[in-house]
Symmetry: C2
Subunit: 190 residues, 2 copies
DNA sequence: CAGTATAGTAAACAATTGTTCACTTTGTCA
DNA sequence: TGACAAAGTGAACAATTGTTTACTATACTG
C-alpha cells in the first residue's frame, strides 16, 4: 500500500467516523502487523503538519482537510496560482456562529438580481437588527419573507425590496420585524 | 453549568480540536470531579443520538453537527417547517469527492446570468468530460476560462458560452480541453 | 556488490482510557 | 417535612492507548 493511499484511507476514515483511527485500527486499515510501523508513519505526518497533538491526543490539522483554493484563472494555469493558502472547511468558512445559525431553502425568484435563486440554500444568523442593504429574513405585517432591507430617506422608515424588477417594494403597514440576516448562499448544481 | 452549556462546550471543543474530549478533559471542561458523572452525561448523549460509539470509541453523529434546515418560508413561521431533517455538514453536502476537488475564486462577470459572481468560490471536480450545459473549467486555445459548455448542432462541435449578454460565444480555433466541472457555488456576504 | 537508509516485526511499558460499584449530596414535588 | 429521583464523589478495574527498545527484512545507491 502506497503512502498516499494510507493518507487517503485515514482521511476516508475520518470522513466516515468523524474521528481519527487509533494505532490498532490503523494496523487493520493498512494491513500492517507492528504498531511501531504505525508510530513511524504517524510521526512523519505530524512532522509534515497533517496531524497534531493536542493534550497528548492526535487530531487533524487544517492541512489534513485542505482542499486547494486557487486564485485568478486569467493569469495562466490556475493550479499554479500563488494564492494557494491551505483551507479549513466550508463549514468553518461559511458558518461563523453555528449556535445561532440555521439554513433555509430559498423559494421564489425575488432575489435573482443578487444571485439567490429558487432552490439555493442560505445560511442565516439569528439577529434582530441588520444593516441597511443586507439580505434579511423578516416578518412584514405577519408574513415571512426573504428580502433586502432598505431605508426610505424621506419617510425615515425601513422597508423591504426584492432584487428583481418583477416585484415592487414592500412597505410595512403595521410592523417590520427582522429575524435574521443572510450570511452566505450555497448552490449545488445538478 | 447547565446541560446546554455542556453540550455547547464540547461542540466548541470539537470545532477547535476536530476531536471529542476524553472523560478527563471533560472533567476540567465542565468543572466536575468524578468521571462517573461524565459517564452518565455522555451516556445520555449517546441515548439521545448526539454521540455514538464506533469500534469502542466515541464519535459525534450527524445530529451533533446538526444545523436546522428549513423549508418554505411562505407557509407560516419558517422555524416550524416540517422539512427539518437533520443535516450533516456543508463540506459533506457540497464536496462529494474531496480527493479530486478543488476550490476556485471566480473573477469576471461572465457567468452572472446563472448567479456566479466575481469573488464567489466554486467547487470544481477534476474531470475530462462534461455534459452539455454544465459549467466547466476549460482550456480554449491555450487560455483557461470558466464557461458553459455548449454544442453547435450544425457544426457538431463543442464551444463555450458565457451567461452574460455582454460576451460572445467562444468557438475553439484549435482545441477545447475540459479540465473540471463546477459542482457548486458558494458566496459569503460582507 | 557492499553499505546504508527505510520500512516492518515483536514484545514490553507506563499512562490513560471508559466503565463499574458503592456511597453522598442536591434538588424537586407532593 | 419527607420521599424519591437526579447529579456528583471517589476509588478500583480491565482494556487499550501511544511510546520505546532491539532486531529483521526490504529497498535503494554509489
Amino acid at each position: 500500500m502506497g503512502e498516499i493511499d494510507r493518507l487517503g484511507s485515514i482521511k476516508k476514515f475520518y470522513r466516515q467516523h468523524k474521528r481519527l483511527p487509533s494505532y490498532s485500527e490503523m494496523l487493520k486499515l493498512f494491513g500492517i502487523a507492528s504498531k511501531n510501523a504505525i508510530f513511524k508513519i504517524v510521526s512523519k505526518w505530524v512532522e509534515e503538519g497533517l496531524i497534531k497533538k493536542t493534550g497528548g491526543k492526535f487530531a487533524p490539522t487544517s492541512r489534513f482537510f485542505a482542499i486547494p483554493l486557487l486564485g485568478s484563472i486569467r493569469a495562466g494555469f490556475p493550479i499554479l496560482a500563488e494564492e494557494n493558502r491551505d483551507y479549513v472547511s466550508l463549514d468553518d468558512y461559511l458558518i461563523e456562529d453555528p449556535q445561532s445559525s440555521f439554513l433555509l431553502k430559498v423559494n421564489g425568484d425575488s432575489l435573482e438580481g443578487i444571485g439567490i435563486f429558487e432552490g439555493d440554500i442560505v445560511i442565516i444568523e439569528r439577529k434582530k437588527e441588520a444593516r441597511i442593504g443586507s439580505v434579511v429574513l423578516a416578518q412584514i405585517d405577519k408574513e415571512w419573507t426573504l428580502k433586502i432591507l432598505r431605508k426610505d430617506r424621506i419617510q425615515r422608515l425601513n422597508y423591504l425590496s426584492a432584487a428583481n424588477p418583477k416585484y415592487p417594494s414592500f412597505y410595512p403597514k403595521e410592523e417590520l420585524q427582522i429575524f435574521g440576516i443572510v450570511k452566505a448562499v450555497v448552490r449545488k448544481f445538478n
